[in-house]
């Protein structure tokens, strides 16, 4: 408990301190509402509209999570192919880089035309493509950047390519993969909300932000933004928990040391 407090304490102090400063300075300066509402107003709006926000968060969350799973699966599969087969590397890597060079969010209106304005598929596709790239690049790096001695050792045991992949390359790629998962989980939330500005279900966070901002209900718009960032934080923390559970050796040294 003391250790937990020591770990999160400084961040907590800065966070709470910032909020207090924000609230107090707004009470004194009283700026116009469109600049930025005070934290208390945002929280009040959040509580007041909690049913609507919760429903919208669930809808956006569905797009985020399905898109994230799709993009991660695609990225990992692509990385496995590229690291295993030379020809796959020569053809798929430039293709992925070209794909990433497209401003992906700009595709949203086009995807809406393809899949239908209200279909979730177009928004899911945006998230999938957005998530794919960091996962692919990082996982490939982890699968290929193995210590030469470790590969030679496996060769000295006359191990098969499959054994080398399974016992060396995949575990070696885990830290790289989890780093990319953390990046991807934030990207997925951004991608989903921005894609929702252009189409998809109307009872989701993106439209909620657009509508409230349009009606000058800025506190309500910010409450929806707050819900979006909470979604991102939850996904980030979940990635961290998966990471810790999959790589016990990363934390073995610190527990041994204390």
């Amino acid at each position: 408990m003391a250790r937990l407090l020591r770990a999160v304490g400084p961040a907590l102090i800065i966070g709470i301190g910032g909020l207090v400063l924000w609230e107090v300075s707004f009470a004194i300066l009283q700026p116009e509402g469109f600049v930025l509402p005070a934290p208390s107003e945002i929280v009040a709006a959040f509580v007041e509209n909690s049913d609507e926000i919760w429903a919208a968060t669930k809808n956006t969350g569905y797009i985020v999570i399905t898109g994230l799973i799709g993009g991660v699966a695609l990225g990992v599969l692509w990385a496995l192919l590229v690291s295993r087969f030379r020809t796959a590397n020569e053809t798929l890597t430039p293709l992925s880089i070209a794909l990433n060079a497209i401003p992906i969010i700009a595709l949203a209106p086009i995807f809406n035309a393809w899949f239908g304005l209200l279909s979730p598929v177009s928004n899911q596709s945006i998230v999938v493509i957005l998530v794919f790239f960091p996962v692919f690049i990082n996982t490939t790096k982890g699968l290929t950047e193995v210590q030469p001695d470790e590969i030679e050792l496996m060769r000295s045991y006359a191990a098969s390519t499959w054994d080398v992949s399974r016992m060396v390359r995949v575990p070696n790629a885990l830290p790289y993969f989890f780093t990319s998962l953390k990046i991807a989980s934030s990207l997925a939330v951004i991608g989903a909300i921005v894609a929702e500005y252009f189409g998809g279900r109307q009872d989701a966070l993106g439209p909620l932000i657009v509508q409230n901002a349009g009606l000058t209900r800025y506190a309500d718009a910010w409450a929806a933004v707050l819900a979006g960032s909470m979604l991102g934080i939850v996904l980030y923390l979940l990635s961290g928990i998966f990471e810790r559970a999959s790589m016990p050796w990363e934390h073995a040294a610190e527990t041994a040391g204390s």
Binding site: Q147, D149, E150, E152, L153, R155, S156, Y157, A158, A159, D163, M167, V168, P171, N172, L174, M247, P248, W249, A252, A253, A256
Partner: protein
């Protein structure tokens, strides 16, 4: 081990050229002849670029000669690798950080299809041999450099190969740990009767450990001299004896090439 081979390692007229036909073509080894008899402890010593590691990797069949042949236990080096006739230890220890010490030692046994109970029994024996019995459940990053090297040696010996190939295994250790590890390695060698080919660039280490020190010269790598070290049983005082100093001097003199400043 069934019947003993006539010689554990036989390298004949081996030349190794890297980057053939390219501007950076380099002759790493030139006309190497080396025979290591079964059960011997032989060190390869020389400055960087003399090809000692390349020679070791040729014996391990991790690379192949440009000319000449390499035999291990009376068969081709490739066949010996496929038969898992040798165990290898590296300077980096090359332990997998995601495996516990037990799982690291078990790795070759797993690849070779040993049953769970056989593996468990053998790992316990090996941990005992390298005096790390209490550390089986730890991860490599919880161990000191010397302990990690002991695990690497245990792993190399776990599947009972007749030959142990070591590439500067103690190169990254401090002097005290290093001397301690040398004594332990000799103890293991005495108990197991393995053939050892040991690459090092430390003269006292080569003299202390080996029955034979092969001195190599650089660019291209050649065998400059083959010095037999008969200074009796190695004990703590050995390193302080005049015989030891005489041999160290002999090896040092043999390492005096007229290349001057590139080391």
């Amino acid at each position: 081990m069934t019947d003993k081979p006539a010689c554990a390692v036989e390298v004949s007229q081996v030349t190794k050229v890297f980057n053939v036909g390219k501007p950076n073509q380099v002759k790493a080894l030139d006309d190497i002849d080396l025979t290591v008899s079964d059960g011997a402890f032989v060190s390869l010593i020389g400055p960087s670029g003399c090809g000692k590691s390349t020679l070791l990797r040729l014996i391990a069949a991790l690379t192949h000669p440009s000319e000449g042949t390499v035999c291990v236990n009376d068969k081709s080096a490739d066949q010996a690798r496929l038969d898992r006739d040798y165990g290898m230890a590296f300077q980096t220890s090359a332990l997998f950080k995601w495996r516990t010490i037990t799982d690291n030692i078990e790795l070759p046994l797993q690849l070779m299809g040993w049953s769970r109970s056989q593996r468990k029994e053998r790992v316990a024996e090996m941990l005992d041999l390298v005096k790390l019995s209490e550390f089986g459940d730890h991860y490599p990053n919880e161990l000191s450099g010397g302990m990690r090297q002991r695990v690497a040696i245990a792993r190399a010996l776990s599947f009972r190969p007749s030959l142990l190939l070591m590439d500067e295994p103690f190169g990254a250790l401090d002097e005290m740990t290093r001397e301690h590890m040398q004594t332990e390695l000799l103890e293991i060698w005495n108990r197991t009767g393995k053939t050892v080919v040991f690459v090092t660039h430390s003269i006292p280490e080569a003299v202390f450990l080996s029955q034979r020190v092969i001195v190599m010269s650089p660019r291209p790598g050649r065998i400059a001299s083959d010095i037999s070290v008969d200074i009796g049983e190695r004990v703590f005082e050995t390193r302080e004896s005049p015989e030891f100093f005489a041999k160290v001097t002999e090896v040092r003199e043999a390492l005096r090439f007229d290349h001057g400043a590139d080391e």
